[in-house]
């Protein structure tokens, strides 16, 4: 039974320009001690979905439906206190390394001990030692605890955020684009730290990113989202090497492979739909080179095959042929009716 089971999660945003259906079909699983990548481009709803798992959503967001089952209990439709009780004890969060994920007027150490004492029930002394332990664990000099967030570099802020997330031995850590803003060397070092702590502590991680290479480097399984819907999920190898949804094929094509000779990259023409008025049928149809009449009429369900590889495409049984076709850039360039 998976640690986290999300089925048909739907979230809307009330905005000036009308209701934005940010997430329409959030369906994914995270097993125990497993690293799951949640991948998609900007605006696909991956951050909304990931943050919603903590129950903390912006003022103008509302849960429209679905279920979030954590350790067997549906926290979304259950008593709110039960969900809040899990926060940081069972589920914790690593933010994108924006400057103000840490409170600028408090020392970093103080913010660490705050959560240890208030949510971990630790005394002052116990919290202090645990805090030093956590700093050392993520490769930060414990003496840095007395400094303020603006005195930390990007890499150090992310390490502090990881330490804070692991403070109370959570079962699930949700990391929202944790390394996106970092340089490639620091990014690799932080990912290595995250990966080896994950395996050592046996914690599950849901890693949100737009970078397929980060998924390939760190994740056991991957979930692909497009225009508010989960359109494919499975083991990283299966999804990257034998994608069953044309969007995943296009996405993997668009990532240049440093070691392979540089073939021409194939862009996906057009742009994602406006989620205030999502199109009928499959939302990728307008940009999909393999779209058929049926794709524009009916929304394809998320079907799972024998070894757990799910995809939402009417032609996923012809995936092997389509994938081969998708490797040739001309399939995509013919599609470019209007410039990208």
């Amino acid at each position: 039974m998976s640690l986290l089971r999300v089925r048909g999660l739907a979230i809307d945003y009330a905005t000036k320009g009308g209701t934005l259906h940010a997430v329409s079909r959030g369906t994914l699983d995270v097993g125990a001690a497993e690293v799951v990548g949640l991948v998609g481009e900007s605006g696909c709803g991956k951050t909304t979905l990931a943050r919603a798992l903590t129950g903390i959503v912006p003022r103008n967001a509302t849960f429209m439906g679905g279920e979030i089952v954590f350790e067997g209990r549906d926290v979304l439709n259950g008593p709110p206190d039960a969900w809040r009780d899990l926060l940081w004890r069972k589920i914790s969060f690593v933010p994108q390394s924006s400057m103000n994920a840490l409170d600028p007027v408090y020392r970093v150490g103080a913010q660490m001990t705050e959560v240890l004492r208030l949510r971990g029930g630790m005394g002052r002394a116990e919290a202090a030692t645990r805090s030093e332990e956590l700093f050392a664990m993520v490769g930060l000099d414990p003496r840095r605890a007395s400094e303020y967030p603006h005195q930390f570099s990007g890499g150090m802020r992310q390490r502090a955020a990881i330490a804070m997330a692991l403070a109370l031995h959570p079962a699930l850590v949700i990391a929202d684009e944790p390394v996106t803003a970092l340089d490639v060397i620091v990014q690799r070092q932080v990912l290595d730290t995250l990966r080896d702590l994950q395996s050592r502590l046996g914690v599950s991680v849901l890693l949100v990113t737009h970078d397929i290479s980060v998924v390939a480097y760190v994740c056991d399984r991957v979930v692909v989202m497009y225009a508010g819907e989960v359109i494919e999920s499975g083991t990283t190898r299966a999804v990257l090497e034998a994608p069953r949804h044309p969007y995943t094929m296009g996405l993997t094509n668009a990532f240049p492979d440093l070691e392979r000779a540089g073939g021409t990259l194939a862009p996906i023409a057009g742009a994602p739909p406006d989620l205030r008025a999502p199109p009928q049928g499959c939302r990728f149809a307008p940009r999909c080179p393999f779209a058929q009449a049926r794709c524009r009429a009916e929304t394809p369900p998320l079907t799972i095959d024998a070894d757990g590889h799910a995809s939402a495409c009417w032609r996923s049984d012809e995936a092997a042929a389509l994938a081969e076709n998708a490797k040739d850039p001309s399939t995509w360039t013919l599609m470019s009716t209007s410039a990208a």
Partner: protein
């Protein structure tokens, strides 16, 4: 540290500049500049002595140097009307002004910060829809008119409170402190302080509200909620603490400005303060007193501007721990 030293130097520059402006301002008077210092009712010797003391017979440049020497020693000359040294008059009325100003601005800021934070937290509620226009209307009302209305209702209408002055006639007090804490003084203080507070609360309230709205959208507030911290703790210790920084600076600026600013309130309530002294002095061409009062008000304003800068660098770790 460096920025503090530079700001201190800038403050001295501003002080010097304002004093110079003041020097020329009071020499601009139509007619004979010596008039600024010599009252015709003085005897010849007194006039002679004052001429020498203020070097009014010498060149402007020499007068300028003498002027500064006097200012630094606190020697502002003698008031025409009361024939008493300007310095003593100022120090007599200063406690009244400070009592009124400090009390009203403190009430205004405490009220403003609490209600501002509450309105930000209740964003989109009726409280906000009614609260904001009400605050703006209070801020749009001239202070003296607010005073007049309160006087008309509470003093003349209901007769609950005195209609002016700082103390009832004929009251004797052993010390200034004793006077300032006497029930009689406090009864006189209520209306003017209420008027000032009503006017001054608008700025902190709106400033705190917009700061809180910004801060509540920051990532660290979302993170605090995700940590499961209690909402009141997030609002108070994280959001309000950050939103308060600019309000504290505004408090220092407000204090400096309102010492000179509540001239009108002092006039409406015939409150014997620094502002009132200035107005009466200017109205009766008692220039030494006017110049002394003006200089003193400017001094408080400039020093408080500097204190505001100082507070900002000290309170915000991003500046103090550069």
């Amino acid at each position: 540290m460096r920025s503090v030293a530079i700001r201190f130097a800038q403050m001295l520059l501003v002080l010097w500049a304002v004093a110079t402006i003041l020097f020329f301002l009071f020499r601009l008077m139509p007619g004979d500049p010596t008039l600024a210092y010599i009252d015709t009712t003085f005897t010849a010797e007194q006039q002679e002595e004052l001429m020498r003391q203020f070097g009014l017979d010498r060149s402007l440049a020499e007068q300028y140097l003498l002027y500064f020497a006097n200012v630094i020693q606190g020697e502002f000359g003698t008031s025409f009307r009361s024939k008493r040294p300007v310095f003593t008059i100022i120090f007599e009325v200063l406690p009244n002004t400070l009592a009124l100003t400090v009390l009203s601005i403190t009430i205004a800021y405490i009220f403003g910060v609490l209600v501002g934070a509450w309105l930000a937290w209740r964003r989109g509620s009726i409280a906000e829809a009614v609260g904001i226009p009400l605050v703006l209307t209070l801020r749009a009302a001239p202070e003296f008119w607010l005073g007049m209305v309160l006087l008309a209702i509470f003093a003349f209408g209901l007769g609950w409170l005195p209609s002016g002055g700082a103390n009832s006639a004929g009251m004797q007090f052993s010390s200034t402190f004793d006077r300032l804490t006497s029930p009689d003084f406090l009864r006189h203080l209520i209306l003017p302080a209420a008027t000032l507070a009503l006017y001054l609360q608008g700025l902190p309230l709106l400033l705190m509200r917009s700061n809180m709205l910004d801060v509540l959208q920051e990532d660290y507030v979302m993170m605090a909620r995700m940590k499961g911290l209690p909402e009141w703790r997030i609002l108070l210790l994280h959001a309000a603490r950050n939103a308060l920084l600019p309000v504290v600076t505004a408090f220092a600026l407000g204090l400096g400005a309102s010492v000179g600013g509540n001239v009108v309130v002092e006039t409406v309530f015939s409150w014997p303060g620094l502002g009132r002294v200035l107005v009466d002095a200017v109205a009766s061409s008692d220039y030494p007193l006017a110049q002394g009062a003006f200089m003193f008000i400017a001094l408080i304003l400039i020093v408080m501007n500097f204190v505001a800068d100082l507070l900002y660098t000290v309170l915000d770790p991003r500046v103090s721990h550069g």
